[in-house]
Each structure stands twice: as structure tokens, then as C-alpha cells.
Amino acid sequence: MIFFKVIRWIVWKDLLSELRSRENISSMFFFALIIILIFSLSLSMDQQMAREMIPGILWIAFSFTGIIGLGKSFLVETQNDCMENLLMAPIPKGAVYLGKLLGNFLFMLVVEIIIFPLFVIFFNLDIFGQIPMIMLICFLGTLGLSAMGTLLSAMTVQIKAREVMFPLMLLPLVVPVIIGAVEATAGALNGDPLKLYQQWLQLLAVFDLVFLIVSYWLFEFILED
């Protein structure tokens, strides 16, 4: 099954490159940290208000992290004509999409795993019972951001105004992910019973499924000759 092997090779290559240069992950991490800092300083709030704003701040931080990381995901392919090499490989282009997607998804998860505990510490959150649920929400939300972001990144990487165009294209399109993730996180942090916020998880799951399929199919047209 050369298809899955190719995905594995692409993830291997991206992980290895990132391990050596550490340039993307460090900028993603520090960006998230800065956002949390700025928000907690500029929004002076009492305990009650803080609880309500936290899911929003968290997912704003994650989204902007995604903008940095996802936006650069195809940058390495623009050097040395590597994109052409991917075009000429005897594989369906969707394998390239999935390989890049998996790499991006893993990078974002790594940053989130580091950032979230810091969040808990800075904002004094009590989350012990909710860790599996929080993990599920992060998984679904990050998958949505990555699915959309990987496709858009391939499109914008060659444009001069990439750093402006990528977030301009990504953010309106992922509004459902933001809404779903924030509401679900709020529900989980509140300790609400699952029934109250499960619709948001369903929303995230539907978004992920739809856009994985649509992006997979559309990616074919990006690397065309």
C-alpha cells in the first residue's frame, strides 16, 4: 500500500526537519504564550468573568498558533523545487495532503499539550475530572483547523502576500470550529453534564469529516500541471 507508506514518509520528513531546526514549533509556542499574556493583562477581570472568558482566550491562542504553523507548512516545499518533486511522484495527490495534514496536526497538538497546563496554572483552573474531554475537544478542534489550514496553506505558499492572505482566508472559514470548540470547552470546564454541550462536539465532528473529504478531493487540483 504505497499510499500509506507515502503518508508515513512525508510525516517522517516533516518531523525530522522540524526536530533539526525547531523553527516552526518554537515560534508557535511563543506566540501562544504571548497571546495568553496579553489577554490576561489587558482584560482585567474578576474570578467569575475570567471563567467565562477562558475558553475563548484558549481557542484564540490555539487559532493564532495554527496560523503561524499551518501557514508555513508548505514553505519548505517551495525551496529547491521540492513541490515539483511531490507533483511528479507516482501517487494520488491526496496522499501528500494527508501526509502534510498529519504532520501539521501533530505539531499543533504538541504545542497545545504544553500550553494547556500553563493555562491551568495561570488561570487557576480546576480541571481534574475533565482531562479526557478536554483532550477530545482539542483533538476535534485542531483537526478542523488543520484540515482547512493545510489546504489553504498549499494555495497561499507561493503568493507574495502569503502572511496576510492565509489568515484572511482561514479565519472566516473556521468560524464553526471556533464556536464549537469554545462552547464545548466552556461546558467541560464548567463541569456540565455531557448532554448539555454534546451538540458542539457533533458540530466539530461533522466539520472535520466534511472538510477532510472536500479538501482531500480539492487538493488534486492544487498540484496539477
Binding site: 494555495m155 503568493i159 472559514l173 464556536i179 462552547e183 480539492l218 487540483f221 492544487i222
Partner: protein
């Protein structure tokens, strides 16, 4: 082709004039909203036409990815530009309607928010096309963005609707307006007028884009001849 354009323009003008007369003068004011309900006669057609533009953009983009026809690409490009006009119109009239009716310039209801997201997608589409140099790639990538956006918009709409019912249950939905027979006829006339206006504008804009491309090609030919 230009003559056909003219007929559409004329037909649009007729419908709009008649419709506006009925909307502003002869139809009765609403029981609850009074005279301000008259904005509905422009707001609803704006909304419908903006979605029509988006539909044309979507279908054109699918067709282009399948057949690679540059004429269809021009049509899609035109639809996006015209779509911006009608979406901005929808947002402005929506806001103006909101102020006297609910004492607020903006409400994050599903309709307006989706319209705002649609506007952002259309602007992103136009900017993408502006920033790309390679004509063939530009058409392909723009088509991809349009398709993704079109699939996304219903999801955006529903997610905002759910969110709204959770956080703002007391707002009155604009769709809750009971449309009686008397209000329906001027609304239909205005809608038809808007559709005709849309067709007229798209035809002009498509022709403009075609001429722009022709000019670019001629310039390129002259330059390359000067080279050799």
C-alpha cells in the same frame, strides 16, 4: 451580446421603479414596525441576490475545475465582484433596519453573521486573484476557495444559529415577520428587479474582465515581439 445586456438593464430598471413605488408608497406599513418595515423590500432582495451570486460563483468554479473553460472562469470572477456589492447592501440595510426595530446597529444573528462571513470569503477570493500572477493557477486556486467557502457557509449559518439560541434567546428573528398577501407582491417585484439587475451587472463585469485579459495578452505579445 451588448444589446442583450441593454434589455436586461431596461427590464431591471422597470421592475425596480415599479417595485420601489409599491414598496415606499402604496403598500401598507407593518402593525408592529411601522414605516421601517419598508427597508425589508430592499434588504430581502439584497440577501437573495447575494446568495444567487454565491451560487453562480460555486457552480462556475465547479465547472471550471471540470472543463477548464476560461469564459466560465471570467463569469465566476464577475459573480464574486457583483456578490460583494449585494452582500454589502444586505449588511447595510440589515443594520439600518435593526436600529429602529431593536435599537441596535448590529446583532450577531445567524443571517447577518453568515452574510458577514460570506463577505469576507468573497473579499478573500478577490484578493487571492489580485495577488496571483499565473493566470491558469489563479483560476484554479480561486475555484477551490469558492467551493470550500460554499460548502462551509451552511455550516457557519447553523453553528451561529445554535450559538445564538444559547446566548441571546430574547432577540426577535427578522424571519419572524409574517408576510401577508399585500406585502408579498411588491416583494416579488423587487426581487425580480434585483435578479435582473444582477444579471445585467454580471454581464457587464464579465465583458470587462474579458477585455482586461485581452489587453494583457496584447501587451504581452507586443513585448515578446520587441524582445525577439
Amino acid at each position: 451580446m451588448r444589446r442583450l445586456e441593454g434589455w436586461f438593464g431596461l427590464a431591471a430598471a422597470i421592475f425596480l421603479v415599479v417595485g420601489l413605488y409599491m414598496a415606499l408608497v402604496s403598500s401598507p406599513p407593518d402593525y408592529y414596525q411601522g414605516e421601517t418595515v419598508r427597508i425589508m423590500y430592499i434588504h430581502v432582495p439584497f440577501a437573495q441576490t447575494s446568495l444567487l451570486a454565491y451560487l453562480v460563483l460555486f457552480l462556475g468554479s465547479l465547472w471550471y475545475l471540470w472543463k477548464k473553460d476560461p469564459v466560465v472562469d471570467n463569469l465566476s470572477h464577475a459573480a464574486a465582484g457583483v456578490g460583494v456589492f449585494f452582500t454589502v447592501g444586505e449588511l447595510l440595510t440589515g443594520s439600518i433596519w435593526g436600529k429602529p426595530a431593536w435599537n441596535t446597529w448590529w446583532t450577531w444573528d445567524a443571517r447577518l453573521t453568515s452574510a458577514f462571513v460570506l463577505l469576507l470569503i468573497l473579499v478573500a477570493y478577490l484578493m487571492l486573484r489580485m495577488f496571483m500572477d499565473d493566470q491558469e493557477k489563479e483560476a484554479r486556486y480561486a475555484a477551490i476557495l469558492a467551493i470550500i467557502g460554499f460548502v462551509d457557509l451552511p455550516i457557519v449559518y447553523f453553528s451561529v444559529e445554535w450559538w445564538r439560541t444559547l446566548h441571546q434567546p430574547l432577540s426577535v428573528s427578522q424571519r419572524g415577520l409574517a408576510i401577508s398577501q399585500e406585502l408579498l407582491i411588491p416583494l416579488i417585484i423587487m426581487s425580480v428587479g434585483f435578479y435582473l439587475l444582477f444579471t445585467y451587472m454580471i454581464m457587464i463585469r464579465t465583458r470587462m474582465l474579458y477585455l482586461e485579459h485581452l489587453l494583457e495578452a496584447k501587451k504581452g505579445r507586443l513585448l515578446s515581439q520587441a524582445h525577439l
